[in-house]
């Protein structure tokens, strides 16, 4: 009986495939190998940066010394059919005290993509798993140095609390439309947002706090992007709703609710030699529900950045970037006065002027040199700068980087 069933199954399957290949052919090693080569791709990137600074620490002990930033990524993607694909990427980072001496390896993304609809004009689908967040112009590939405008991300990218926008554990709906007047990309990510110690410290202004912030309720991050001429002009709006709640042993923070609502407006021009980018970021904050005083404010940040390709493979970039904890108090004077001077005003803003030179030695290798003149310290890592009394207002960052991609 079993033999008969197997026989019928074989017959049935050979019948199904008769139109194209026999099942023996389909299962032959050559064919499996061929499909594997055609449908599976591996890529990766690696970068090593050296940083020296005056005044404050960046990615470890860089102050009057040298610290290092290491980024390594490796990914695989599998295009199973015209509708279904899989992708996974691992990321290793060593970036100062937050990642420890030996660095940290994480799953950067891992998801299945199911495309309902696909033609020359429309792409509609869902992704499930861990998915990169479409925040601004650069976030989705923020750890691939080749795709960043400078070695250090612009301030509105939450480099200190990167977990906020890094990736979402959950799902994504995407709709892409390609028209004669440009391309529209819509993405909606729903799920769990990560938080970290840096975010907790920033929210509570308490470097000694223990415990953590957990996602509460449903978080989402969404973006609508409009591109003309394959990205020669890019316009985007990104918005997120993130709700956190304090979990820990400090009773005064019990039941602390942390809803954060960031919005980003982005524009970019990518010409043959000249490029221009500008982004404007507003973030509505409301910290309440605990015994500590309620905080309600709007943070504001923006930057403008110009790039010029001196040669096809040599590009200079200059950027002015500023951010304020409270947009109604851009230089932190009111909050500082309220604290009786306990909190210096320059903890509440950052103004950063960047000059960067990038040399693409080959399509796979890149070298970069960068200088930052910084006023204010609202965005520095509290873990890399534990001595609050020793934080400088006016400081410099010098950096070199070598990067490889394949």
């Amino acid at each position: 009986m079993l033999k008969l069933i197997i026989g019928l199954m074989l017959l049935a399957s050979s019948h199904v495939y008769a139109a194209e290949l026999s099942w023996q052919d389909k299962l032959s090693w050559q064919n499996i190998q061929k499909n594997w080569q055609d449908d599976v791709q591996f890529h990766g990137f690696l970068s090593q940066g050296l940083i020296s600074s005056s005044g404050n620490n960046v990615y470890g002990h860089s102050k009057n010394s040298v610290s290092a930033l290491t980024e390594v990524g490796l990914n695989a993607s599998y295009q199973y059919s015209s509708q279904i694909s899989f992708a996974i990427q691992g990321l290793y980072r060593r970036a100062g005290s937050t990642t420890g001496k030996n660095g940290i390896g994480v799953l950067d993304y891992a998801f299945m993509d199911y495309r309902f609809f696909n033609d020359n004009q429309w792409q509609v689908g869902i992704r499930g798993g861990r998915i990169k967040n479409p925040w601004g112009l650069y976030n989705e590939t923020r750890d691939v140095s080749f795709t960043r405008p400078t070695m250090f991300m612009p301030l509105p990218y939450y480099e200190r609390s990167r977990g906020l926008v890094l990736a979402m554990n959950g799902g994504q709906v995407y709709v892409n439309q390609f028209t004669n007047w440009g391309d529209l990309y819509f993405k909606f990510n729903l799920g769990v947002t990560e938080s970290d110690q840096e975010l907790l410290i920033a929210v509570t202004s308490n470097p000694a706090i223990s415990g953590k912030l957990n996602t509460s309720g449903v978080n989402f991050l969404t973006q609508l992007r409009y591109e003309i001429l394959e990205g020669q002009y890019v316009f985007a709006v990104s918005y997120a709703q993130m709700d956190f709640e304090y979990k820990g042993l400090s009773p005064i923070y019990n039941n602390l609710q942390v809803p954060i609502r960031p919005l980003m407006l982005s524009m970019q021009y990518n010409g043959e030699r000249f490029s221009l980018a500008a982004e404007y970021n507003l973030q509505w904050n409301h910290f309440y529900g605990a015994l500590v005083p309620e905080i309600k404010n709007v943070s504001e940040g923006w930057y403008i950045q110009g790039g010029y390709k001196i040669l096809d493979n040599l590009e200079a970039t200059i950027r002015y970037d500023q951010t304020a904890r409270d947009k109604d108090d851009p230089l932190g004077k009111k909050i500082s006065a309220l604290s009786g001077g306990l909190m210096p005003a320059y903890y509440l803003f950052t103004h950063d002027t960047t000059i960067s030179l990038r040399w693409d030695v080959t399509p796979e290798w890149m070298l970069r040199a960068e200088y930052h003149r910084v006023h204010g310290a609202s965005n520095i890592s509290m873990i890399d700068n534990p001595d609050i009394g020793d934080i400088a207002e006016h400081w410099n960052i010098y950096a070199l980087q070598v990067a490889f991609r394949f």
Partner: protein, 142 residues
């Protein structure tokens, strides 16, 4: 190496020092039933930016390109796609490093391009030289 490729090499060698004589031509593997109905540069751009991944007969498109800094690649991007090479790279990077797509295969030379397109069913590439081969179709050629 077979005759036809040798012939291509001969032509390539002949015009190596005057490559501007030839315009860039898009070539495909000469599969029967392959749809080559490119209405305008938009469609070709969709293929080379890896947005359109399948031919109309549901076969996967195998895209071959030269390195970003190759003179023929630069000319191809500008002449045939009306965009700059760094825009193609931006699209490929976005897909490659977010898992939302795949990148084209890079070949080292125009000669290798011709060989790959000849050997690979459902493939597409481009050249800056005369190609005369039964297995290769030159777009726009009658």
């Amino acid at each position: 190496m077979d005759k036809t490729v040798k012939l291509s090499l001969y032509f390539y060698g002949l015009f190596l020092f005057s490559s501007s004589v030839f315009a860039i031509e898009i070539i495909t593997h000469n599969d029967s039933g392959l749809s080559l109905n490119f209405k305008n540069e938009e469609n070709i751009r969709a293929i080379f930016s890896m947005r359109q991944r399948y031919w109309s007969n549901s076969e996967k498109i195998k895209v071959f390109v030269l390195a970003d800094n190759h003179v023929v690649h630069k000319a191809f991007a500008k002449e045939k796609l009306a965009i700059f090479p760094h825009q193609l790279r931006r699209s490929w990077n976005r897909m490659t490093y977010t898992g939302t797509g795949q990148s084209p295969k890079t070949v080292n030379s125009v000669i290798e391009m011709i060989q790959k397109v000849k050997q690979t069913p459902y493939s597409i590439g481009y050249v800056d030289t005369l190609v005369s081969d039964d297995d290769i179709k030159v777009m726009g050629a009658r």
